[in-house]
C-alpha cells in the first residue's frame, strides 16, 4: 500500500502527507474491479449465449446442412416410431425435415413492414413534439408515448387478435386489395386479418415509442447556436430541422431505429398471436399467414422436447442462432452507415 501511494506523490515532495490513504486505496481497487466486471459482463454474456446456441444447434447443422436455409417445410417426423434415420452421423426420427426459409422470410418481412411504417411515424412524432408542441402539452403527449412502450406485448397480441385483425380484414384490406391491380402482392385474398401486414402493423406500434422517445431526447439536445444560425439565415423552421437538427442527431436516430428493429425481429408473443402461424409456406401476398423465428420457437418448443433424438430442439436452436446472426448483421450494417455519414457531416474531431 505504501509503495502504491509513493507512486502517486511527486519525487522530492514526499513531505506532503496523504491522509486516509488506506481507504482511498481500497475504494479505488473496489471501483476498478466493479468497472472491469461491468465492462466484461455484457460482452461475456453475448459470447456465452452465442456459444451455447452454436453447440445446441450443431446436430441440426450437421443433419440439415445448407438445406435448412432454403427448404420450406418444417417437420419433426414421427416421435413415436422406434425407427430412425441417420444422416452425417446424426440420428433423427423418421420423416424429419427442417426448412427455415418461411420463418426467416416471415421474420424479415414483418420487421421490414414494422420498420418502414414505424420509424417515419416515430421520427415525425418526435419532431412535432420537440418543434411545434407547446411544453405543457408536450409533457402530456410524451407521457402517453412512454405509456405505449409499457404495454405488455401479449396485450398488443390480444388486441390485434380481437380488434385490429377483424377490423382490418373487414374494412381496410378490401380497399387495399383493389390496388392489387397495380401492385401484385396487395391483391386478394385478404384472409382473416391475421397475417403478415397485421403482424407488421402491430410491431410498428410497438417500436414507435422506443424510437420516438429516443429521437425526442436527442432532438431536444441539439445545440441552440447552429439552429439559430439557420433561422438567422432566413431558413424556414422545416429547413432548419431538416438541414441542422436531423443531421445533427442522425447517428442517434439510426441507433434508436436499430433498437426498434431489434425489438421487431425478436418480438414473440404479439406476433405469435396475430401472424396466423404459417410456418410451412411462403407468404402469397401481404395478407398471408406467416410465422417468425421467435414465434415458431415458442410455438414448437414444447412438442420439440418430446423428440427422443433431441434433434427437434437442436433445430429450434439453429433457428435462434440465425435470428441472432440477422440482428448482428443489421447492427453492423447500421454502424457502417453511421460511420460513413458522420465522417462528412457530424461534429467529430476539432471543435471550437
Amino acid at each position: 500500500m505504501a509503495t502504491h501511494l509513493e507512486k502517486l506523490s511527486t519525487p522530492g515532495r514526499k513531505d506532503i502527507p496523504v491522509e486516509a490513504g488506506e481507504e482511498f486505496g481500497i475504494l479505488d481497487r473496489v471501483l476498478r474491479f466493479l468497472g472491469l466486471a461491468g465492462a466484461i459482463i455484457p460482452t461475456a454474456a453475448v459470447l456465452f449465449i452465442a456459444a451455447v446456441l452454436l453447440v445446441s444447434a450443431l446436430p441440426s447443422i450437421l443433419f440439415n446442412g445448407l438445406g435448412f436455409l432454403y427448404h420450406q417445410s418444417w417437420n419433426f417426423g414421427n416421435f413415436y416410431s422406434s425407427a430412425t434415420v441417420t444422416h452425417n452421423g446424426i440420428q433423427a426420427p423418421t420423416g424429419a425435415s427442417y426448412g427455415a426459409l418461411p420463418i426467416i422470410i416471415g421474420t424479415l418481412l414483418t420487421s421490414i413492414i414494422a420498420f418502414v411504417i414505424g420509424v417515419p411515424i416515430a421520427v415525425g412524432s418526435a419532431l412535432i413534439l420537440v418543434e411545434k408542441v407547446p411544453p405543457p402539452l408536450r409533457r402530456t403527449l410524451s407521457f402517453f408515448l412512454e405509456l405505449l412502450a409499457g404495454i405488455p406485448s401479449v396485450v398488443y397480441g390480444l388486441w390485434g387478435l380481437i380488434v385490429l385483425g377483424p377490423f382490418l380484414a373487414g374494412h381496410i384490406y378490401p380497399i387495399l386489395a383493389r390496388l392489387g391491380a397495380i401492385i401484385p402482392w396487395l391483391g386478394p385474398p385478404v384472409g382473416s386479418g391475421l397475417g403478415l401486414l397485421t403482424a407488421g402493423l402491430i410491431l410498428a406500434v410497438m417500436i414507435i415509442p422506443i424510437v420516438a422517445s429516443t429521437t425526442r431526447d436527442l432532438l431536444s439536445q441539439v445545440p441552440v447556436l447552429p439552429r439559430e444560425g439557420a433561422v438567422a439565415l432566413g431558413l424556414t423552421s422545416w429547413e432548419s430541422v431538416r438541414l441542422v437538427s436531423l443531421p445533427w442527431v442522425f447517428s442517434g436516430i439510426v441507433g434508436a431505429s436499430i433498437l426498434g428493429w431489434g425489438r421487431a425481429l425478436g418480438e414473440t408473443m404479439a406476433v405469435l398471436i396475430v401472424s396466423g402461424n404459417g410456418a410451412n409456406f411462403l407468404p402469397q401476398n401481404i395478407y398471408s399467414p406467416v410465422s417468425t423465428i421467435a414465434a415458431t420457437i415458442v410455438a414448437l418448443l414444447d412438442s420439440a422436447e418430446s423428440d427422443p433424438t433431441g434433434l427437434a430442439v437442436s433445430a429450434l436452436a439453429e433457428a435462434g442462432l440465425i435470428l441472432m446472426l440477422i440482428t448482428l448483421a443489421t447492427n453492423i450494417l447500421a454502424r457502417l452507415m453511421v460511420r460513413r455519414v458522420s465522417s462528412t457531416s457530424l461534429p467529430i474531431g476539432r471543435g471550437v
Binding site: 447556436l225 462528412t344 471550437v352
Partner: protein, 309 residues
C-alpha cells in the same frame, strides 16, 4: 439598520422606475437617481440630441430604432431605445455585461422571437419599413439582415452545402451556378485556397477561425444589407481576429454593420460609430472618435477607461 433603509430606498426607486414612462433625456427623475450604483446614469439632454444630430448628418440611416422596448415575460430588458445605424458604416454597441447589447442585436433580425415570452414595443425600421409590422415574410428580413454569432456555428453539412443552402433557399443564383457562387463567396472571405480540396468534407474539421470565416461567407452569400455581429471574434485567436476585422472594414462599402463587442479596443480599431448602452438605455451615441476623445457622460468614460464593466 442603515443597510435595511438603504435597500428599502433602492427598492422604492426601482418601483418608481417600473412605473415611469420611457424617460426622456431631460427627464428629471433620471437626475434624481444619480449617485446610486444601480440606477441608470443621467443623460444630459443637449449632448444626447447633439450626438443624434451628429449621426444624422453623416450618412443615410439604414436601421432606425424608435422608442424600442423589449421584455421577456415580466422583465423589461430594453427601456426605450432610440438609435440609428448608418449605411456603409460600422456601429459598435458597447456597454457592461447585462446592459442589453445582445438583446438589442437579436431584436434587429427578429431572432428573439424564438425565445418564449419575448415582447417588443416601439419601431425597428429597415429603410423605413417596420420589420415587426410591415413585413409579410420574416425570412426575407432575416436574409436582408444577416448575423454572425459569438462562436462559429456551421451547419452539420459539407463545407460547400453550408453556403449553398442559403443560396438555394433564397434563390440567389440559378441552380446551375450555385457551385461557382460558393467558390466566389469562399474566395471573398479568403477561405477558398484552404478548403477547395475538401468542399465535401465536414466544416467541423476546420480551425475555429476558418469556421467563423465560413459562417461569414454563408451570411454574405445571401446578399444581406445589414450584418449583425455578436462578439464575432471572442472565440478566435489574434490572427483570425485580425482577418475578420479586415474583412469587416472591407465590407463597409456595401453593408451596414452593427457589432456587439466587449472589446473596447476592437470598437476603437474598426467602428465608425459607438452606441454606449447601460442598463437597457442608450447613454451616449456618437462617432467613435468623439466618444473616445471626448466622452460627454461620466459613465461612458468610466466604462471606456476600465473603471466599470
Amino acid at each position: 439598520m442603515v443597510k435595511v433603509t438603504e435597500t428599502m430606498n433602492l427598492l422604492s426607486t426601482e418601483w418608481e422606475i417600473e412605473r415611469l414612462p420611457f424617460p426622456r433625456p431631460d427627464d428629471k427623475t433620471v437626475d434624481r437617481r444619480n449617485g446610486s450604483h444601480r440606477t441608470p446614469p443621467p443623460i444630459e439632454s443637449q449632448n444626447y440630441l447633439n450626438t443624434q444630430q451628429a449621426m444624422l448628418d453623416q450618412g443615410v440611416s439604414k436601421v432606425q430604432l424608435t422608442d424600442l422596448r423589449v421584455r421577456f415575460g415580466e422583465r423589461e430588458i430594453l427601456h426605450g431605445i432610440n438609435a440609428r445605424f448608418i449605411d456603409q458604416r460600422i456601429t459598435a454597441l458597447i456597454g457592461p455585461t447585462g446592459c442589453g447589447k445582445t438583446t438589442l442585436l437579436r431584436t434587429l433580425n427578429r431572432l428573439n422571437e424564438l425565445v418564449p415570452g419575448f415582447h417588443v414595443e416601439g419601431r425597428v425600421e429597415l429603410d423605413g419599413m417596420d420589420i415587426y409590422r410591415d413585413v409579410r415574410d420574416v425570412r426575407d428580413v432575416r436574409r436582408r439582415i444577416g448575423m454572425l454569432f459569438q462562436r462559429p456555428n456551421p451547419f452539420p453539412q459539407s463545407i460547400e452545402e453550408n453556403i449553398a443552402i442559403g443560396l438555394r433557399a433564397h434563390h440567389i443564383v440559378p441552380r446551375g451556378e450555385v457551385h461557382d457562387e460558393v467558390e466566389r463567396q469562399l474566395t471573398e472571405v479568403g477561405l477558398w485556397e484552404a478548403v477547395k480540396d475538401k468542399l465535401s468534407e465536414s466544416p467541423f474539421g476546420l480551425s475555429g477561425g476558418q469556421q467563423q470565416l465560413l459562417c461569414l461567407a454563408r451570411t454574405l452569400a445571401v446578399r444581406p444589407e445589414v450584418i449583425l455581429l455578436d462578439e464575432p471574434t471572442s472565440s478566435l485567436d489574434p490572427v483570425s481576429t485580425q482577418r475578420v476585422e479586415d474583412l469587416l472594414v472591407a465590407l463597409k462599402s456595401r453593408v451596414s454593420i452593427v457589432m456587439v463587442t466587449h472589446n473596447v479596443q476592437q470598437a476603437a480599431r474598426i467602428s465608425d460609430y459607438i452606441v454606449f448602452l447601460y442598463e437597457g438605455r442608450v447613454v451616449e451615441a456618437n462617432t467613435a472618435t468623439e466618444i473616445f476623445v471626448n466622452a460627454r457622460n461620466k459613465v461612458t468614460e468610466d466604462f471606456l477607461t476600465g473603471r466599470m464593466g
